[in-house]
Symmetry: C2
Subunit: 746 residues, 2 copies
């Protein structure tokens, strides 16, 4: 009887534990209560139903074409790369379809594909393409292998209960555990860093650890490898140091270091977008499986703050400002942001502005978060997402400079000025201290080139970074900031640049009236101090706020200064004569100058000059305060670019030679309109008659802008004291002016 | 009693004639019955009501700013030009508002403005800007003065009845009659031509003649000036001859000569669009006031046919193909096409397809025609406007070559190939015999540069034609056609070029399956015969139909041949090595070559070569059959362009030197897709493995295209007999092929 009872007990325990297992999954991203709610509401929440149908159609079509797990061989953009990427995206979707629709066909499909991977995985050699500092097995780099595991861990969670214990054991032993080991213990130089690459690795290992309930993998993911044996001088393909200065690693450290308190990610938005997916998905998994970790409260809730920050780092079209390495066109319509918006809504504070972004995206995550969003939209809770002027510090404690975005008027239609005075941004950083970007209605007025790469276009270096990314895109001259002696900031050296950051001097942001951001950089060039103040002046006499750029340079030595404006459009008028070159030669030999054809020159001798250009639909005018010796250079990108890797963009460079301390004052008007259909040109000329330097000392700079109508605008800047309480009294040309705080616009 | 009666009779007659006058107006464009119907339906026809409200708001706002009739002084784009243009547009609208809304304020406004013009007109000198061969008084050229009168005649008609006889007499004597005389008898070189300029002049004089019931003006408009004293060698600003070869002039002659039987206007769509307004408005006036003229039946109803033709000469976005002088972006959304569509619907055969265009336009004419359209839309009669492949002859009797548009699949999403084998196109013609343009979904794949001009942008030569229009845009090398010995067709001489036209050899158009157009040109170069066949091959193995270009050249002498491809995008791969130039020099010294920087060269020695480029969202691949000595030149526009008047577009030139008769075979694939949001590249590589010349004799050309999958495509062309009934039997490489008609694709 005892033995019988004992047997009964054992059987009972067996069944209880089976039941426990049965209850446990899905529990990572899609939860059991979530999926129940979704099933109950099928047919009742239009957005969710519509997107579910879309995903179902996509997965059904893919399942019909059959399973294909090719032997890995190609670079990004090549067949095997694209196919394995497609596989993990479809597996994740098939998993949720199985849960939501309770159709075994989806579970069978996921199982069959995973079994095929399990069959080959262990015997796969390292990927044959030798380009990466951390080669994967399915893909040319571990990073993409980690992508695979992040998605596949979700698929496994969804079909977990449908598999036999034996099947699970087989998959875990033959595929998941060796896979997780490969991208961590076998590639510590990949796994044990403070870098977006490692965040993917950490999340991949951690998410699979949560599904497998493998404590060791979870700890490895959260805290990194105890020992990694990485040399302090080791560098990755982008030239970034691998070893963290303080030896930190793991998921939590990767939250700690790169995010500022406001959730600005030091690599800038393009990579923040990329990294948000593993950050948020592993966080959701931890939140669901290990609520005691309180991951969404970690570092004052920075992960969810980061979503709001990222959405604010977009232009009127939702495209990310292309700071540092960034492919233009990436936007909040990307799949990573669909997840981010849904998660931030559901696990955050249900900001109704996120719902309007979700509606624009037209996509959802098919899980608890996505359902929340769809339901809230159906309940009429959506409100516009309002983007206003915003300041974001950089650095783990917000002490390494930052980004200021000045926005005029309503978010969708007006100017955006993005001032950058950050830290370097890890290996994806560019040498562009105190640079700025200017947008109008989603159009670039003054551009940042972005990266030199065709992501996933196989013909272009296998879709990877091109050498022109280093020789051009990262160089200072590729940005709207000052280049001294044709040399990039920090001499273009990462080891130096990554030690420094610029500093905000002061700023004033408001939803109405003029706005200002002032920052200083004292390390980019030995012996040269740079102080740039960008003002967005509201005045009814302009179509849009006037952008005033006061760039003060202090140097004991004589230098050559180049201040580029990377514009778009065609030159339509200049106040100075143009000397077109009869043959074109590169403007210089290094630091990006070797890529610029010198098209035309100008020189005038006048103290104020204007240049206007035309985009086809609108006009822009640059008014400059010059010295009589200033030279004007018109360049076009494309020299020393035998493979046509660069766009042939145009730039205008203001050159001041043989000068020590000096002041640049430039005003940009974004004005007028033109339609090729009506052929009517409105307000096609400048409203500025002149600019003058009323005073410029160590302590004060005063600039006067004369307009074609009405009284002039005067801008007073305090250069040494940025206190908001400080009272200033200044007599200029016999006129006494008193004000409080670091600036006055009158 | 007799005398009393006589007085009574006189008074009676006076009142009868007053009444008659009262009944007579408006009768030109808006008619009395039309305006009654409109008034009765106010508030009942949503589209009409909405657009009426829009126009009312515009006119009300303008009336509030007050009257401004400045002394003329500026070129196009300058203040006085823009202001007088705005005045005539607003006057026409205020006139119809007076009629429709019966609010005297509009009539008073029109009267006040006209009185101001009447006060100054006679004393105005000729416009101070001396640029035009026919200077106006309000504007720099008579053409714009005629624009003014075409619009103002409508405004006058609308307020005619509200004016006293004395007021009318004053306006007619001080303004309208002298105005009409100035642009006709005082400027015969402007008025008495076969040219769009004169059409405006004819219509202006004729429309005012109809309103004033001035028979002399009407006859002058319809038949031109009997004597004009114009020299046979006189030329206009564009280099066109002024005197018609047969001495024809007047409105009817201007319908007769430039329109082909299908309604293709020899100057091409951009100017057809511009001229359609006076053509149609004067025609509507004649139809309403002089129905006995049967103007809409004139030349087999060509005026209304021309509207359909013009709508078909647009890409998927409704933009006109930029043949000859044409500013890109002009489209069927222009105000001229709003009128044209409404008039063609109301006075034509009520084609329901026009209603869908009107809906897209979102605008109407506020008159009988516009009301008809709005009412029909409200009645649910709208149908899609279907654009299919189409052939349009050129020349008054359709005997001067033509245009063939090959369209694949549904109109909005697929390829458009526009083959040009027309006459010269008057003074706006370009030297581009046998050229072609290629579009995909409204994007230019192979472009025609269009014109070199910034219409109404004052900073660019007062908005007029730039000298680069002659030195670049008109030259042969600016087009996708063959240049022999770096010399434009007809040596770039209008006097020669305007005597000749190309000839269609054969064509086959269909809504399904492959399509073909073949044409010959024997006069562009002495001793050189050119024969180009363009095929759009439907085959499921391509994303889009394959474009095959077979260009056969016959010459007894050895020449240099340049075949340019004016592409958009960035080069991503080539089968031949690229030799980038370390400094850039112009490719040549004349005929447009002086504007091309030679960027890079290639040479291979292989008989088949490929070049792929990328637009950011899609891929294109050119596969060429080469001789081993062929050279590949990559150029960028912008040399010898000191004022930045040209866009910096890229071109690829296939150069074959020291060759007599020869055959060029090129295939263009429009393939694949890319999204910067998903970063996924689909179908980014060519589906072509090779191209070979199987046979090429005077009688036959046979080309074989080998694909990466499946069997090859063979194209058989009969070069000397284009009869559809002719049976051909050909043995090539031992294989016998039989077919009927000028071509076979198998």
């Amino acid at each position: 009887m005892n033995r019988f009872l004992s047997l009964k007990t054992t059987v009972l325990i067996f069944f209880i534990s089976l039941a426990a297992v049965a209850q446990d999954h899905p529990n990572l991203i899609l939860t059991q209560s979530g999926v129940e709610q979704i099933r109950e509401n099928l047919g009742k929440v239009p957005f969710f139903d519509a997107y579910l149908a879309e995903v179902k159609a996509e997965v059904d079509a893919e399942m019909k074409t059959g399973i294909d797990v090719p032997t890995p061989k190609d670079m990004a953009g090549g067949y095997t790369h694209v196919r394995h990427k497609k596989n993990f995206l479809i597996l994740q979707k098939a998993g949720v379809l199985y849960q939501i629709l309770e159709d075994d066909a989806y579970a069978d499909y996921v199982k069959d594909v995973l079994m095929e991977y399990a069959r080959i995985y262990k015997s796969l050699p390292i990927h044959p393409q030798p380009r990466s500092y951390a080669r994967g097995k399915l893909f040319w780099q571990c990073l993409n292998d980690a992508n695979w595991l992040v998605y596949v861990s979700q698929a496994y969670d969804c079909i977990y209960n449908s598999l036999s214990r034996k099947e699970r054991k087989h998959l875990e032993n033959e595929l998941f555990r060796p896979f997780a080991d490969y991208i961590s213990v076998e590639n510590p130089q990949y796994f044990n860093r403070i870098h977006n690459h490692s965040t993917w690795g950490n999340a991949a290992v951690g998410m699979m650890g949560l599904v497998m309930d493998d404590e060791e993998l979870i700890q490895r993911a959260l805290y990194g490898l105890k020992q990694d044996g990485i040399s302090e001088n080791a560098k990755d393909n982008d030239g970034g140091f691998i070893k963290d200065k303080e030896g930190k690693a793991g998921f939590l450290a990767n939250i700690e270091a790169p995010f500022s308190p406001e959730g600005y990610y030091t690599e800038a938005p393009y990579y923040q977008r990329y990294a948000m997916y593993p950050y948020l998905l592993f966080a959701v998994g931890l939140n669901n499986v290990r609520p005691e970790e309180k991951i969404f409260e970690y570092k004052n809730g920075v992960l969810l703050k980061a979503v709001n920050t990222l959405l604010n780092l977009t232009d009127s079209d939702g495209e990310f400002y292309p700071l540092n390495d960034a492919q233009k066109g990436m936007s909040y319509f990307s799949r990573e942001l669909v997840s981010a918006v849904d998660i931030a809504y559901h696990y955050g504070d249900q900001n109704p502005g996120l719902l309007s972004i979700a509606r624009k995206q037209g996509k959802l995550t098919l899980d608890d978060a996505g359902f929340s969003v769809a339901k809230a939209i159906a309940d009429g809770k959506s409100e516009p997402f309002t983007k206003q002027s915003m300041e974001l510090t950089d650095g783990p404690n917000g002490e390494q400079g930052g980004i200021t975005i000045l926005r005029s008027g309503s978010q969708e239609n007006k100017l955006n000025l993005v001032a950058k005075y950050t830290a370097h941004g890890n290996s994806h950083g560019h040498y562009d201290k105190l640079s700025y970007l200017l947008y109008n209605k989603g159009e670039e007025v003054l551009q940042d080139y972005g990266l030199a790469r065709f992501v996933n276009i196989d013909q272009k270096n296998g879709g990877g970074y091109l050498k022109e990314n280093t020789s051009w895109a990262k160089q200072t001259i590729a940005h709207n900031t000052l280049v001294v002696n044709e040399t990039s900031h920090f001499n273009g050296k990462y080891a130096i640049g990554s030690k420094f950051h610029s500093d905000k001097y002061f700023s004033s942001l408001s939803s109405e009236g003029s706005q200002i951001i002032s920052a200083k950089e004292n390390n980019a060039y030995p012996g040269v101090k740079m102080h740039r103040t960008l003002v967005m002046i509201e005045d009814d006499r302009f179509d849009n706020p006037l952008v005033l750029d006061v760039f003060k340079v202090h140097s004991e030595n004589k230098n050559q200064y180049d201040l580029p404006h990377h514009y778009f459009g065609q030159i339509i008028s200049s106040s100075f004569p143009l000397e077109a070159q009869s043959t074109l030669a590169p403007l210089g030999s290094a630091h990006g100058y070797q890529h610029l054809w010198l098209q035309s020159k100008g020189k005038n001798g006048a103290e104020v000059n204007q240049l206007s250009w035309f985009t086809g639909s609108a006009f822009r005018t640059l008014t400059m305060l010059n010295t009589v010796a200033d030279e004007f250079l018109f360049t076009q990108l494309g020299a020393n670019d035998p493979e046509f890797n660069l766009r042939s963009d145009s730039s205008f460079i203001l050159r001041r030679k043989n000068t020590d301390s000096t002041l640049f004052v430039n005003a940009i008007e974004v004005h007028g309109s033109y339609s090729p259909v009506t052929e009517i040109a409105l307000n096609s000329t400048s409203s500025i008659k002149g600019i003058s330097k009323v005073m410029d000392t160590d302590d004060y700079t005063v600039v006067k802008i004369e307009l074609t109508t009405g009284s002039p605008i005067e801008v007073f800047l305090s250069n040494q004291n940025s206190s908001n309480n400080k009272e200033h009294t200044l007599t200029v040309n016999g006129n006494l002016t008193k004000w409080t705080g670091p600036f006055l616009i009158k």
